[in-house]
Symmetry: C2
């Protein structure tokens, strides 16, 4: 049986990665979603193995030590990461798995997993991205400026990716990602 593909969907904050993934879930029910490990406490209704793999801090540090994470980061005192096992097991079963992740994390995954398909989700324009970030209405001007500057830097890393998909319309963006997955399965491996 042919192995599955790891698709890494990344892009600046505010570009719509989550929205695109939710729509892909509907369009491609056969696609498996990577589940992160975290050392934070489960919240009400969160299920182990569905929302996260919940680990103690000690367990998480051990996973880092044993190279069992494709990437990880610390955020307000808790660890978050992508367990390598779950990804590799899914691929061995011949299923495709998608990982939605911010840009720095994606590049760390690339170091450990070159055979992944790296997709950068782009806003139609920087102005459009600014509009989306402002539209949330929750950020002050300094934060917006900072996020825009981070986004511009991240877009500068696009050449480390295999594909760039413009998120102009959710349907079109999903169709492009679906097409990339189909095409990658048709690639002649040399």
């Amino acid at each position: 049986m042919a192995k599955g593909l790891l698709i890494v969907l990344s892009g600046p904050s505010g570009v719509g990665k989550g929205t695109v993934c939710n729509e892909l879930r509907v369009r491609m029910p056969e696609l498996v979603y990577s589940v992160s490990a975290t050392s934070r406490q489960p919240r009400f209704g969160e299920e182990h193995g569905v929302n996260y793999f919940f680990k103690s801090k000690e367990q998480f540090l051990e996973m880092i030590e044993n190279d069992q994470l494709l990437e990880y980061a610390e955020y307000v005192g808790n660890y978050y990461g992508t367990p390598r096992d779950f990804v590799e097991q899914t691929l061995e079963e011949g299923k495709d798995i998608i990982l939605e992740i911010e840009v720095q994390g994606a590049l760390k995954v690339k170091e450990k997993f070159k055979e992944g398909v790296f997709v950068f989700l782009l806003p139609p324009s920087l102005d459009e991205l600014k509009g989306r970030i402002q539209g949330r209405g929750t950020e002050n001007q300094a934060t917006i400026d900072h996020r825009m500057s981070v986004a511009a830097d991240e877009i500068g890393l696009i050449e480390k990716y295999d594909y760039a998909v413009v998120n102009d319309e959710i349907d079109l963006a999903c169709k492009r990602i679906e097409s990339i997955i189909i095409a990658e399965h048709c690639k002649v491996r040399k």
Copy 2:
């Protein structure tokens, strides 16, 4: 404006290149089809620039001399070839162009046009291909054996191609080719 893509659709005789192309014409009306040049006489109803670019033998030999053909071949005393001009002009206009061609021709095109997207159309199996060739009912056993042996050799050249598309169902095969074209447009050029 971004340049278009040259898609070269190839594969063994009997695999269904023509049928797939006819269906693609319906599904992707924006796709331009490469028009061959030939030194043979026009048949009733054939139009210059639509079915073929009709050339005298002298004109054709001049095109060869001036490297104006991406490939050419002689067949029962007439020349057939792919004019480079028409392909390049279409690409410059930002349009995609598809070239349906047998395997030897495709590999000659690849020598002159590496940036093309080379798609090999595969039968679901060699048995299935044999069935399709026999199904026409026009060939004797020796011819069938010869064509099967040529097909097997051609399939051995698949690694010179970028993509392999199995023509199991016409709809699926077309969807795969459509996906390859969409994905190629999303590729990050390095």
